[in-house]
Symmetry: C2
Subunit: 234 residues, 2 copies
DNA sequence: CGTACCGTTGAGCAGGCTCAACCGCTGTGG
DNA sequence: CCACAGCGGTTGAGCCTGCTCAACGGTACG
């Protein structure tokens, strides 16, 4: 671990203002402990549901460690992964008092569980904190827009490349390796590809010496220039 | 116009809570006038830039009437429409003090221009209002997720159908006709299709007697059952 | 040690993209 | 008033890429 983490829940996002030009952890130590005191810290094993689409939304969650996936079931019975969640991500924001997506852990996850009523209180007491949440959701919105641009591409290799770049930018840790805890099938569902196409794309990038596969859940970018060219081109 | 509109800027979104089960205008008359007093109302002709990607973000905007498109330019030079904006939509939320998307009007538009400093003041004074903005951005996030699911579909007809349904749900007015002020080319860019594919898809839906084309910028759903089946199937 | 799931690789098909021509409306200038 | 240019939209022909189906290999977990 390159960066030391203060205790308590945090929110990772790019700020609105002109200050820092990167993705940072938003909350002050005081705000973290303030939320931390109102929240319950939960430890969830791998492959476990955190919340279910359509269920009554009594709480929102902030991921502290581990990785999870967010998905929704389509009327056809198919399943689409809408996002991957990493430390300092939020999930469980509701619509009409119901969760809109199901969240399932990939690795073991620790997360903070905050009742919505409590969160409303916190916002009333500390408007600054509400703005931080606004910033975080706006950040998620930008991520989703980027996701859409990615999925709109025709070529599988390009989509996978942009996906890897997204994972890399998302990770605050300075490591040169990209952590990919999710399965190929999850990636495929996220990118709107068949899992075979994902496999072929990764194989292609590997054969071209653009990436190196360090086991199944870590990827190293070998040729940064061609990697960026790949991600940029459409 | 079926519904009477109170004066002042508003925000259209689905609330967090379990109350109303639909998309509504969020702000109270007091809050509307409160923002309205701090904002300048601007009238913009059709095909005009509201804000430009990368420019310094000094203000956010709330659309009052008309329609606009939001897009970003890709490194390749291509352009992707990321969203269409209608009355009570927000745009201009920044990242690192810069706009991330360009916004251009489609029809003549009236909008409220709110300096970011002013908005921050308003949030500090009225936390409830900050929560409403949070609700709106969350609503946008949901819309973007839905957009991604739409774009991830393989078939052009399905994508266009889901697009029309999105437009219909987006419109608060009770009218049975869907207003489509944007060009086929804009739709194509939004859906990640070629404009020919959009044209063919609409033609196909028309020949199947599922929709009726009332001029170029209005569409009527004729066969609701098959329309929903089309949108649901994947 | 066995089994089931994840991942890879191959062959054939379908749907959407590209290129290209054509149509209709609009606005403009002679 | 009409001719023409320009743009947005529709339609057609051929190609290309990713999907589907299928078989095989490897790894993690019981």
């Amino acid at each position: 671990m390159v960066e030391s983490r203060d205790p308590g829940p945090s929110l990772r996002a790019a700020p609105f203002g002109t200050g820092v030009q990167k993705v940072v952890r938003l909350l002050s130590a005081r705000q973290r402990s303030q939320i931390g005191n109102m929240a319950t810290c939960v430890r969830v094993p791998a492959r476990t549901l955190v919340c279910r689409e359509g269920a009554s939304a009594h709480a929102v969650f902030i991921v502290e460690t581990g990785a999870a996936k967010m998905f929704r079931d389509l009327p056809s019975g198919k399943r689409r992964v809408t996002a991957f969640l990493f430390p300092d991500d939020v999930c469980g924001l509701a619509q009409h008092g119901q969760y809109v997506d199901t969240v399932q852990t990939i690795t073991p996850v620790t997360l903070y569980r905050i009742p919505v009523a409590t969160l409303a209180d916190i916002f009333r007491r500390d408007p600054e904190l509400a703005v931080h949440f606004l910033c975080k959701v706006t950040h998620e919105l930008r991520g989703s827009l980027q996701h859409t641009v990615t999925v709109a591409r025709r070529d599988a290799v390009g989509r996978v490349t942009m996906f890897l770049r997204m994972l890399e930018q998302n990770d605050i840790r300075a490591g040169s390796r990209i952590w990919t805890p999710m399965s190929r099938s999850d990636v495929a569902s996220y990118l709107g590809l068949s899992l075979e196409a994902v496999s072929r794309a990764l194989g292609s990038l590997h054969r071209s010496r653009i990436i190196a596969l360090e086991g199944r859940h870590e990827i190293q970018i070998v040729d940064r220039l061609r990697f960026e060219r790949m991600a940029a081109a459409l």
